[in-house]
């Protein structure tokens, strides 16, 4: 089936994007972010989870955490294209919260069909969740999970779990006697230990989650099928977050080089500064266009969703690396200091580049689809 010309990004979506932009502009300007997460600069600082719970609650009350939950399950049932608009604004604000994790869990649960509805109700009720399926090597193939389900309980460790400390529920991929399954349980359940990671990114928390006989509800007996359905949306939304963050990087840097003078000229006069920033813009725009194309495919052209989502995340990862690099370099000495906000986005983008597969990983999979698996 063909995609609508406008990506299915209609008035409702535009309204949501605007109100999200307004919400973060008013409630979470960058100085607030810096004050919240950058108080302690010590490079040896222990794992920590820093976020604004009240503001998150407002976001929940606005219904934004249940946008992707189908109306049938008590949610809003918004298309991925519309959700991408919201996530783009979230990324622009680099707002530390478990929204992406919750949306990711939502798409997986939806793909689980009937078995997933109870869990979706938790999300519709405002609970935050996150996925736990990666092994210690950061392998994005769910079959590599180190978690096993036996005797009605989970055993083993899931690594690189995003915003774990902010979540009420975990959606775990575990091997079972009959293949890979998906399991739903409270993050503070008996037999679950969250071991926080000490990470570079100041706007997220991350943990490896140890399961030692934790009881859990199975929501799918065919994890691969559910994940393959949901992953394109997951990749696309992360790419949308990176596009929003990069717009912040570009705008902030352009403002700086427009005013900062060297050699009696604003820095932005020099093509050595100007042209790289143009290149940043060009890469942002391509990534952004690919994001909405992928989102629209998730909504209306399932057979193309994976292909287009690989493109979006690959483009976003390379773009984010370049935008981050130029944001620090163009700021010169000041950009190298903790006081200057650019490092917050620099670090968030670095994290996002690797998360859910870096550019090379996505291109390799895209090649298998477009060219066919190599001989």
């Amino acid at each position: 089936m063909a995609q609508p010309n406008n990506y299915g990004f209609g008035e409702e979506a535009a309204l949501l994007k605007e109100s999200a932009a307004k919400f973060f502009r008013e409630h979470f300007p960058t100085d607030k972010l810096h004050a919240l997460v950058a108080a302690d600069h010590n490079p040896d600082r222990p794992p920590v989870c820093q976020w604004d719970r009240e503001l998150w609650q407002q976001l929940v009350d606005l219904g934004w955490t249940m946008l992707a939950v189908p109306e049938s399950a008590g949610g809003v049932g918004m298309p991925v294209a519309a959700v991408a608009g919201l996530v783009e604004e979230l990324g622009r604000a680099a707002f530390p919260c478990p929204l992406l994790g919750t949306l990711n869990a939502t798409y997986v649960l939806v793909a689980c069909g009937a078995e997933g509805t109870a869990a979706l109700a938790d999300i519709a009720a405002g609970e935050a969740a996150t996925l736990a399926l990666t092994n210690r090597h950061g392998d994005w193939n769910p079959a590599a999970t180190e978690v096993a389900y036996r005797d009605g309980a989970l055993h083993g460790t899931a690594w690189f779990v995003q915003d774990a400390a902010k979540c009420d529920k975990l959606l775990v991929c575990a091997s079972t006697a009959s293949g890979l399954g998906l399991f739903w349980l409270p993050s503070d359940a008996q037999g679950v230990t969250l071991e926080g990671d000490a990470i570079v990114d100041l706007t997220r928390d991350q943990a490896h989650v140890c399961f030692d006989g934790a009881a859990a509800t199975q929501v799918s007996g065919n994890a691969l099928a559910a994940l393959n359905t949901a992953l394109p949306a997951i990749w696309t939304l992360l790419a949308a977050d990176m596009v929003g963050a990069a717009e912040w990087q570009l705008q902030t840097t352009v403002e700086y080089v427009g005013t900062r003078k060297q050699f009696d000229r604003p820095l932005g006069f020099f093509q050595a500064i100007k042209h790289p920033l143009v290149e940043v813009m060009v890469q942002i725009d391509a990534a952004k266009s690919l994001v909405y194309n992928a989102a629209c495919a998730c909504d209306t052209e399932a057979e193309k969703a994976a292909q287009f989502a690989h493109m979006a995340k690959a483009a976003a990862s390379d773009m984010a690396a370049y935008a981050s690099s130029r944001s620090v370099q163009s700021h010169g000495g000041i950009g190298f200091t903790w006081e200057c906000y650019v490092h917050l986005y620099f670090k968030r983008q670095k994290h996002s580049q690797m998360l859910w597969g870096d550019a090379g990983w996505h291109r390799a999979r895209l090649a298998d689809i477009v060219i066919g698996v190599a001989a």
Partner: protein
């Protein structure tokens, strides 16, 4: 076209779309008798031109070219129908329309800035392709810096006497008319420019000399034009004296697809022999290129590069799609002004990637029977520099984007 596109048609458009489809089914020309060039600007022989002119004439007579222009100037008097005709002609894989400069740059400029009687005189034969048009902006001393045009027009009553030298004038060796930027006042850089249309073919030997320039590919196809006391009637001046720069903006805006009027476009037809210039063509090439035990399409590094290329292409395509979705735009020109830069640089990296895929066989050129894809890739790669240089180098495009869109201070 996808039904989805059709869904969005107005009643007039829907009815016109059906008409176009039926007409094309009945009248689309068959396999051409000659090797078609990769684009109108590469037309080298009168055989090629004749075949393509005949096609444009028939499409014009059928009402598929110039649909949105008023009837008085030879147009179809329709509303927003050119895009429909374009979509259907592309879908039908017709030959392209040869009078590309006429349709894309001259027609809108003449339409917005010429006198009524001049429009009526020139536009019908422009739309029909009977008169080929060319453009005279660049000069030996004025490349990226258009405003430093020196070719001078001196007033003698109602006549202008033109002297000077224009370069990179594609199609001039076939052209009846040229749109030209002339200096009418040496004391002001910008306000000293005026815009004219001047006869070429009719004036050959009578004030106009056309010399072919040879590209690094060895192809001819563009020219230098020397004016030696060419006399031009004042009626062929567009807009007021000294307004040449503003008129030129109309031309450039439409060249970049950012203008009011949709440019008539057709194409898609290929000789059995010829190949498209796209990442999918390079993927095909790789599949058919032996590498060690397997093919170049098995090489992980080439696979990665081909995907980078494919992603850039899709990104440009989606930019063009997003440029029509208001809610996903900020600065109105931000995407449009990237088109030329991206298209030309994507073509360049594609060409270079194709040569890498071909490996040592990329040394073989057009006349070599063993050349992959008949040697088109080395030629396409070299021609890509025409794209990154002509009509504002990539460097100038980046200045424009940095200054107009990002609002950074001018670099000059």
């Amino acid at each position: 076209m996808s039904d989805d596109t059709a869904r969005k048609d107005t009643p007039e458009q829907a009815e016109f779309r059906t008409y176009c489809r039926e007409w094309l089914q009945a009248n689309k020309p068959g396999e051409p008798p000659v090797r078609l060039p990769q684009s109108p600007l590469e037309i080298m022989t009168t055989e090629q031109l004749g075949y393509l002119q005949a096609w444009q004439k028939s499409a014009y007579d059928a009402g598929l070219v110039g649909c949105d222009y008023p009837v008085e100037v030879g147009g179809g008097g329709r509303k927003d129908c050119q895009k429909i005709a374009n979509e259907e002609m592309l879908a039908a894989r017709t030959p392209f329309l040869p009078n590309v400069i006429g349709l894309g740059m001259a027609a809108p400029t003449v339409f917005y800035h010429a006198r009524e009687e001049v429009k009526a005189e020139l536009l019908p034969r422009l739309f029909s392709g009977e008169d080929i048009w060319c453009q005279g902006f660049s000069e030996p001393g004025a490349g990226s810096d258009l405003a430093s045009v020196q070719t001078f027009a001196e007033r003698r009553g109602d006549t202008w006497v033109v002297n000077g030298h224009k370069v990179w004038t594609s199609l001039a060796h076939f052209a009846e008319w040229m749109i030209i930027l002339l200096r009418t006042d040496k004391s002001h850089k910008y306000d000293g420019l005026s815009y004219f249309v001047v006869p070429i073919r009719a004036a050959l030997g009578k004030g106009v000399t056309v010399r072919p320039l040879i590209k690094i590919t060895g192809e001819t196809g563009f020219n230098e034009v020397i004016f030696d006391n060419l006399e031009v009637d004042d009626r062929y001046r567009l807009d007021e004296l000294g307004k040449g720069w503003q008129v030129a903006m109309t031309t450039l805006l439409h060249e970049r697809g950012a203008g009011e009027l949709q440019t008539p476009r057709a194409g898609g037809m290929k000789n059995k022999s010829s190949h498209t210039i796209s990442s999918s063509a390079v993927i095909e090439l790789a599949k058919n290129t032996r590498r060690g035990e397997g093919t170049a399409a098995d090489d992980p590094i080439l696979r990665d590069k081909m995907m980078q290329q494919l992603i850039r292409e899709e990104g440009l395509k989606q930019n063009q799609r997003r440029s029509r979705v208001q809610a996903l735009l900020d600065h109105p020109m931000r995407l449009l002004l990237q088109n030329k830069l991206l298209a030309s640089e994507i073509a360049q990296s594609l060409g270079s990637l194709a040569l890498e895929v071909e490996g040592m066989s990329s040394s073989l050129y057009l006349a070599d029977p063993n050349a992959p894809a008949r040697g088109q890739w080395p030629m396409a790669y070299m021609n890509s520099y025409g794209m990154t240089i002509a009509a504002g180098t990539s460097e100038v495009q980046r200045n424009i984007l940095g200054e107009r869109v990002l609002g950074l201070p001018k670099s000059k």
